[in-house]
């Protein structure tokens, strides 16, 4: 499924986890961070971000704690958990393996 935000399918969870692995962030900051790091190449829509964050909470890969945003609003700050880190490693290995395989095909075929 092609996405408007330019994210390859199935990578959103991995990207969120990776961003949170460096530091705890609230929702908007997660989206900003992904955009910044990708030099605005990738943008995460709210419509995908919040359901994805709920899924991470449900799976126990992140924990949320109350925080205050830079604009003084009540938000939730998401923090990666141990099982979240394990999941990140797993998804990362898979992604590397698959993208490597795809690159091989693209370059040698």
């Amino acid at each position: 499924m092609a996405r408007e935000d330019g994210l390859p399918p199935g990578t959103l969870v991995m990207l969120i986890l990776r961003v949170l692995a460096s530091q705890p962030l609230h929702g908007y900051a997660v989206a900003r961070r992904i955009a910044e790091l990708s030099k605005d190449e990738l943008s995460v829509e709210e419509g995908s971000l919040y359901p994805a964050l709920q899924k991470l909470l449900l799976k126990g890969w992140v924990k949320a704690s109350p925080a205050v945003s830079e604009t003084g609003r009540q938000v939730r700050e998401y923090r990666i958990t141990a099982s979240g880190s394990r999941q990140l490693d797993l998804e990362r290995q898979n992604f590397t393996r698959i993208s490597h395989a795809i690159m091989t095909i693209l370059e040698t075929a």
Binding site: G27, Y28, E46, G47, P51, L57, L58, S69, R73, Q74
Partner: protein, 862 residues
Amino acid sequence: MSLMGEWFRRLTYLANRSDRDDELRREMEAHRDMMGNPSRFGNTLRLREESRDVWGWTWLDNVQRDVRFASRTLRRAPGFTVTVIVSLALATGATTAIFSIVNGVLLRPLPFVQAERLVQVDEIHQTGGAGAIAFGDMQAFRAESVSFERFSGYELTTRLLETRDGSERVTAVLTDRDFFPLLGVSPLIGRTYAAGDPAGLVVLSEALWQRQFDRDPSVIGRTIGLSGNRWDPTARRSIVVRREATVIGVMSQIFQFPYGASAGFAGSMPESRTDMWIPDERPDGGRFGSATGRLKPGVSLGAAAAELDAIEKRLDITAPGPYRALGVRIVPLADEVLGPVAKSLWLLFGAVGLVLAAACANVANLLLARTAARAHEVVTRAALGASPRRLISQFLVESLLLGLAGGLAGVIVARWTLALLVGIGAGRIPRAHEIALDWTAFAFMLAVCLVVAVLFGLAPAILAARTDAQEITKASGGRATTSKAFGRLRDGLVIAEVALAFALALGAGGVMRELGRLARTETGMAVEGVMTLHLSPRIPDNDYFAIEERVQRLPGVAAAGFVQLVPLQNWEWIGDIHITGRPREERPRIELRTVTPGYFKALGIPIRSGRNLAAGDAILDPGVFLVNESFARLHFPGEDAVGRATDRGLIAGVVGDVRQATIDRPAAPEIYQVVNRNAGVAPELGMSLIVRTSGRPEAIVPSVRAAVLDVNPIVAFFNLKTMSQVVADSLWELNLYRWLIGLFAALALTLSAIGLYGVISYGVSSRTREFAVRLAIGSDPSGVARLVLERGLRLTAAGLIVGIGGTLAIVPFLRRLSALFTPDALTLGAIVMLLVTISLMACLVPALRVSRLNPATALRHD
């Protein structure tokens, strides 16, 4: 493990849902604020919903919404809701009550260790019938049988228990030492007895422990005084013996073996109960009243019976005697105990199931009518985007709500019905004390309610979901038209209701016909104005003559006399006789009755020839006795029986036949002996006094009581009943059926009338325009009304055809259960007439409405 964590988080979320939802909302608002261009943020509400969906609780919200919506709609239609809930409450309540009885009595295994291996062992006697087993034979079975693990013989009797304030008559079971080990039961407190225990011990029932010892645990080891009658063979009379016994244990309330102890004492014991168990030795040559055995695992009934038969055959040769048994009969204990009531209970369960089905059909019918009226609502909801699944779930929630409300109200009905039925059946249904509205019954009821709700709710739901929006919006004005399927389904339901009502009415008709027949049966007695009292314990014979004389002289008394047990109490005492001059081996079976001379006049039994008995007959040698007409007809056809000699003495007279065991069983050959002549017929039973009065029978009781106590002050009175009451009580089972099945039938008839009325009046209202046009172009109002009535009758006729066809199809099967199910033309015709009348009444109101229709007003509405 991770799945469990996930569920844990899901549930935590559910518990803090509104907090989490607030957090999400605030978080999104903050997000929007921080965005450079807030208008680019999507639909907040939708985004929040999508985020919430992740937690998987959306369905719950839907259900909640449906429940709120449904309860609101139902509250807005109180008439409909109350009708549905009441009919469901009656049907599920009655079904649960009957189920509780079936479950408590029939379904649960008997409360003994591996009860399926227990069997009742009877010997087939030369005099006919099966029962008591000879002590010697039982010893042989014990020694030689390889099919059985154990045998135990026991016998019912009564004892007088000495209490703080006098004495209480109790039902005692005399057993051998194998009794408790055989059943594998343990006591509530103390211990039971087994092989090697001495005599003089007693195990009490919980009820007696409570009644007389206030549940005092120190009763164990206490010595109690018991007296009982015992036949003294040398004195040839019954003597009162006092013994002491040490209490060693108390059995829990559940343990009531042998069941139906009262059956052995019908007419002398007011209630069914077993109060105590006493280890007892039978003398050689004696018999056990009953015997139970435990088969070894894997041994079949047939093999066990064959083995015992073979042992009997061998005993015939090695130990011949005049009273050798002809063979052995083995029946599973559960069948022996429950057999007499099993059929009846299953039939009742079936009948109540029919009521439940009728109620379901009726509720479905009402719901369909409502669905039709709500077609517009359904279409609107569908147009606004409700999926068929949501529509179906909405209707199902509504019917589940109705089902549960009906079930809740049904619990009350069930409790009430059950209390009533157990009250009636307590002394008559074995294991009645085990019947309870327990969790099995509730689970059953819940299941019934849910199944019922889905059954009656699904059809309207599916039909609603399939309803074609276009078809309905096309329909003119405010009237919704519905598909043909609706109409056909509703007709079908009404036909089913009529058929069910017919089946139940036929059952009720059969019972009533049987009761009518029995009520007209000639009993051979004049029952009006007769009072009966059972006197216990057995007192010296001369006291009976003295009491008879005293009572006869009381003002208002026309006649009085004693008999061992009042007729129609399902009691028989079987013996045999040899008529002098007949072949030696000819020993025909007779029933023995012990009376005082006044008995025949007191019950209005005529003396056909010869003379009555007299007090002095006891000392005559040879003795004399009376025979009944059946005896005279059978053994002296066309001759005079009076003066003939037998091994029991001379026949002094012939008396009229009396229905003895049950009202339905013709008299068997009987002999009557004067009380002081008879050799020990169950001496512990005492005697029943019959008093014929010139006024109200009950009014005579105080003066009779005073006269009796004046002769012998130790006598206690039981079972004070008028003879009419005795006759009515002997029909209790049929009477119970008449009430229950009659009630069920009335319920089903009412339901079918409601259903028919609903369908017809709905049909009328949806055809108002057509009828108006017919009237406008000159149709006769009565002709239009006839159209309506005809439709009602067509439905009724279809229901009757289905009912008759269905009933006839199962009659051969039902007839195996009971002769009541022999349909006769008269009952059939009466019930058809009844149903047609009720149907016509149900259709009359809509028909009248049509005939009074004003075409102008009716047509202007469109």
